[in-house]
Symmetry: C2
Subunit: 205 residues, 2 copies
Amino acid sequence: MNFSSKRIEEAVNAFATLPGIGRKTALRLVLHLVKHPLENSEQFVEAILGMRRNIKTCRVCHNISDDDICSICTNPHRERSVICVVESLRDILAIEATGQYRGLYHVLGGIISPIEGIGPAELNIDSLLERLRDPEVREVVMAISPTIEGDTTIYYISKKLQGVNVQISAIARGVSFGGELEYADELTLGRSIAARAPYRLQDES
Amino acid sequence: MNFSSKRIEEAVNAFATLPGIGRKTALRLVLHLVKHPLENSEQFVEAILGMRRNIKTCRVCHNISDDDICSICTNPHRERSVICVVESLRDILAIEATGQYRGLYHVLGGIISPIEGIGPAELNIDSLLERLRDPEVREVVMAISPTIEGDTTIYYISKKLQGVNVQISAIARGVSFGGELEYADELTLGRSIAARAPYRLQDES
């Protein structure tokens, strides 16, 4: 695109550096800002700079945080005996949205991926081992994506945890709730059958 | 989404004010900025604020511009006898990308749309009439979308131009190049037949 304005071009290029935003979308965003009052753009920019300049990483769990220790780690109502190991903040948001988990988290900051050059040393594994010295912790839940890299990461961490007196568990894998069997992929369906569990009638329990 | 960080939430809300960006996309953009150095965010913000604070509207054609008069209006290589009337800057970019037009532009800033409360008074029509007083201008090309609102706008402007010694033309309408006839909509196909033009063999000309 040949913009008649250098300023517009610079702003479009700035937006286009963001993931998933091409130059056409970037232009739409820029024109949106142009159409609205200057104050809107200033507020937009302040929110972003304020966030970027002040954001911290939680000293305990490596979650993104406004303070040295994040609001989940400092929350007195969370169970301190369970630590859920996740790849990134996004997984925390997804799990929190379910409302099914009341324990703490530990953000690895990635998963082991030789192709992307991410080895165990790049991940927050040492600090996890450190946290497990606290005798209060009794369970580590691996909430890592069921991919080859994810499985490698779980395997590596489990090996490291050998000898540590803590229960290691992994989130359940199988066919999705509400999903049609015929549309499940072969690997998932195959493993679901292999990992079948005894069925209990509700009123039997 | 329940963010553990107020700062993150504010930045997500800021991005989510932009058109076509929901909260999930906004979060991805924010996490992208968090993952990259502070300088990247500062450059991003500078490009946007620099644009928004300094952007002007061309005094002649109402195109977006870095200066009082835009780079198309001041370009000595553009034909000054033709003015192409468009709805917005985006149409200028689209037409410029074709490389088929070397004249000037006039940005209306919208089209007549009673539903959206846009009447002729909201559009840059008076300044167009002003420009046509220049005897150098010999043709006005209406490059307005072929919708009911667009046609209304063309009709209104044409009425206004009665008595002005200038040729009014409209961009050609018909089936798209490379399009299959059977997929063309009825209105377009019907009008294409009604507005058929004499066919000339290339080597006859």
